[in-house]
């Protein structure tokens, strides 16, 4: 009799647990599904970035003639249209300025230049960065000032530690 009671208790517990598990799982699946919808364009946006970069690089050029200037203006408009379509999808473009403080949460340092007085600042912006809602699709690529030249030997050693073979 005692055994039956405890068995009953056990299965009752299992039964409720199965329901709880299912409900929790469903909540999780629904949350994941919302995420998936929110970020559905992620891969697509990623593929578009080299194209945006191309525009960006083209538009940085100085026009040497009136004709070329008009062409560039036209391209500028196309570029802006493209960016606005992406913005509607939730993409945010961020364009750091020279002199901004370097922030690794959305910038990637590609190169460094020594500037003792003014370290950790953006000295050149190579490409803009892009975010889709909260996901960083690609950081902005920048050149950053540093206080002193990094000892190559030291950083090499830290970054590629010695092999430890068993």
């Amino acid at each position: 009799m005692e055994k039956l009671k405890s068995d009953l208790e056990h299965w009752k517990n299992e039964y409720y647990r199965a329901y709880a598990d299912m409900q929790n799982l469903r909540k999780k699946v629904e949350a994941d599904h919302r995420e998936a919808i929110k970020y559905r364009a992620e891969g697509f946006v990623d593929n578009l970035l080299p194209i945006l970069d191309g525009f960006h690089m083209a538009l940085q050029n100085e026009a040497s003639s009136v004709e070329m200037k008009n062409f560039l203006t036209g391209f500028q408009y196309i570029y802006r249209n493209l960016v606005s379509v992406l913005e509607n999808e939730g993409v945010a473009e961020f364009a750091p300025k020279v002199g901004d403080t370097f922030d690794a949460s959305f910038m990637q340092a590609v190169e460094t230049v020594v500037d003792e007085k003014n370290p950790n600042k953006v000295t050149k912006v190579i490409t803009n960065g892009y975010k889709l809602h909260d996901h960083l699709i690609r950081p902005a690529m920048v050149v950053v000032s540093i206080k002193e030249k990094i000892d190559e030997q030291k950083s090499e050693e830290n970054q590629e530690a010695h092999e430890v073979d068993a």
């Binding site: 647990r17 598990d21 299912m22 929790n24 799982l25 999780k28 970020y39 992620e42 080299p50 191309g54 690089m57 083209a58 050029n61 370097f102 690794a104 949460s105 910038m107 990637q108 340092a109 590609v110 190169e111 460094t112 950790n120 190579i126 909260d134 996901h135 960083l136 950081p139 690529m141 950053v144 540093i146 990094i150 000892d151 030291k154 950083s155 830290n158 970054q159 590629e160 530690a161 010695h162 092999e163 430890v164 073979d165 068993a166």
Partner: protein, 604 residues
């Protein structure tokens, strides 16, 4: 209270991955806050005391000498890492702990609960000191490391290999920066690593570098300029990686680098195509470097390639077709590729976590129906009630009706199989529900319920909702089919899909035609006098045409006439309310409101 979760962590040299076992027994990889499944194993320190881990740490690496990566290579040694800005030394396990703590944190945020336990993986060649260091790292991060398991063992678990079955397997792991080969001997409840070999300075990044150098050389040939600035080099590497990935699925790709440099003629634009053959040719020396370790591992295990039962490929770089071909050539086995190669190790660790907590045992108890279960309906069609691969126990019911006026009984024929015509499937059993009150076809409501219990026993009940009279049958032999029978039945369904679909359409058309004839007859009989003679004649003519086509099995005519009729009926519906019984009568396939999927959730 939520169930305790044990994380599965692949603590890698360059990247780490964390996953967990869900309540349904499936493993899910947890994305980091930036939305990626892998997190760089990089830690950076700032003079302010701030610590950065993961992607952000990697992004600021060139600006900060106190950035530590590949610390895994130092695990277990007494060597410390000096952090200049803090003037402090850190042990390798302290650095690894920061990566683990970061992953623990985002896993907790993602799952909305505290986590205190983990299974962490390490290379098969790790010695005791290195394993202890890995365990210590977990402890420092606030994780109780319930197991340290070998990476190849985790891969085998991810592939669902059963430790009770005796097998010899080779695991070929080509990651971003390291290459490992292991041979496992599985059996008697254990996974034994028999031999390991590898090259810990070889990975997918090397393939990228070769292509990047090639791009640089091509620009020099095409444009006569040597582009060497760091930014351009970064673009070469990005383009190279993209090309490599594309060449895994296509045989040719275009590398396009607009405005790659400035010359006296303005911007330099570079574009070229790279074929898979060319790519494989320029990287064949890298691939060759994986051959020797495979041979060595086999030799150390005293095995010849044909004694291997399975070959598993893991690590992102194994997506390259050349790698798969090489492994096939070396081992004579077609490699198993069914698990995401970047995530396999972490997935295996999460499965091990489930085994430790006992969750796995709970999960495997649940079975699925191997084939669809249903009943025969009008025209010999199979109407499925429970689709194949439904997890049991389960209950499903649906409401059906009669096919003829004043039908006194219905025959419930229970079938199992994937074919749309009942006769092509396996008859499991049948019974009759009688005593149905005289009524027009389609009016009686008969609820058919399929109930499969936890032991796979199927009970089918038919209930006349009018009289509450019911009849049932219990079928226990539904799982008596062998694996071969089930596979054969599924295969046959696939092979006959086209012909079956055609037959199904024919039967549906015939059912529909019969229904129309029936309702026309009814309408003419009931309201015959109120209908204009011309319209009556026309309707009668249509009915006869339909009947002739039906009798002669003339499907094309049936289809055309039915289309016309449907259009006419639509027009009629606008002018007068059509007889209700005209639409609702067929069993199962019409959207009529008397055919409902009953909600079978148990209450409470």
């Amino acid at each position: 209270m939520a169930k305790e979760i044990i994380l599965g962590i692949d603590l890698g040299t360059t990247n780490s991955v964390v996953s967990y076992l869900q309540a349904d027994g499936k493993v899910k990889v947890i994305p980091n806050p930036e939305g990626t499944m892998t997190t760089p194993s990089v830690v950076a320190f700032k003079a302010s005391g701030e610590e950065i881990v993961g992607n952000a740490a990697k992004r600021q690496a060139v600006t900060n000498p106190d950035t530590v990566s590949s610390i895994k290579r130092k695990m277990g040694s007494s060597e410390k890492v000096h952090i200049k800005s803090l003037n402090k030394d850190f042990t390798p396990q302290e650095i690894s702990a920061k990566v683990l703590a970061y992953m623990k944190k985002y896993a907790e945020d993602n799952l909305g609960q505290k986590i205190s336990k983990a299974v962490i993986t390490c290379p098969a060649y790790f010695n005791d000191a290195q394993r202890q260091a890995t365990k210590d790292a977990g402890q420092i991060a606030g994780l109780d490391v319930v197991r340290i398991i070998n990476e190849p063992t985790a891969a085998a678990l991810a592939y669902g290999l059963d430790k009770e079955k005796s097998e010899k397997i080779l695991v070929y792991d080509l990651g971003g920066g390291t290459f490992d080969v292991s041979i496992l001997d599985i059996g008697d409840g254990t996974f034994e690593v028999v031999s390991t070999a590898g090259d810990n300075k070889l990975g997918g990044d090397d393939w990228d570098k070769v292509v990047a150098d090639w791009i640089q050389a091509q620009i020099k040939i095409q444009h006569g300029i040597d582009v060497t600035d760091n930014m351009a080099k970064q673009r070469f590497l990005d383009a190279a990686e993209k090309a490599k990935i594309e060449l895994s699925s296509s045989v040719e790709t275009t590398i396009s680098l607009p405005f790659i440099a400035m010359s006296s003629n303005g911007p330099v634009n570079f574009e070229t195509t790279l074929t898979r053959a060319k790519f494989q040719d320029m990287t064949k020396h890298l691939l060759a470097r994986t051959e020797e370790p495979v041979r060595r591992a086999l030799a150390d295990a005293k095995l010849s390639a044909n004694e291997l039962d399975q070959v598993l490929l893991i690590g992102g770089s194994i997506r390259m077709p050349a790698v798969q071909e090489l492994v096939k050539k070396l081992t004579g086995k077609t490699p198993n590729l069914s698990v995401n190669p970047d995530e396999a190790v972490s997935i295996g660790a999460a499965i091990q976590g489930g085994v430790v907590s006992g969750d796995i045992k709970d999960v495997v108890l649940l079975d699925v129906t191997p084939l669809t279960l249903g009943i025969e309906t009008l025209g010999g069609m199979m109407t499925p009630l429970i689709e194949r691969n439904t997890t049991i126990p389960t209950t499903k019911s649906q409401i059906f009706s009669t096919a003829a006026d004043n039908q006194p009984a219905v025959d419930i024929m229970v079938y199992q199989g994937e074919r749309p015509m009942a006769a092509d499937n396996k008859l499991l059993g049948h019974f009759q529900l009688s005593g149905i009150k005289p009524a027009r076809r389609g009016e009686p409501r008969i609820e058919v319920t399929f109930n499969i219990d936890v032991n796979g026993i199927v009970k089918v009940t038919a209930k006349d909702l009018d009289t509450q009279k019911e009849q049932e049958i219990t079928i226990s032999g539904s799982n008596g089919l062998s694996k071969e029978d089930i596979d054969r039945m599924v295969r046959e369904a696939e092979a006959n899909a086209e012909a079956d679909a055609k037959r199904k359409e024919e039967v549906e058309l015939k059912n529909k035609a019969e229904q129309y004839i029936n309702s026309i007859d009814q309408a003419l009989q009931e309201k015959g006098d109120s209908i204009e003679p011309a319209q009556k004649e026309q309707t009668q003519k249509l009915r006869d045409e339909l009947k002739t086509a039906l009798d002669n099995n003339d499907i094309d005519t049936l289809r055309t006439r039915l289309n016309e009729l449907e259009k006419a009926a639509e027009m009629m519906a606008h002018t007068q309310t059509a007889g209700k019984s005209a639409q609702a009568s067929d069993e199962g396939n019409q959207t009529a409101d008397d055919v409902v999927d009953a909600d079978s959730r148990p209450k409470n």
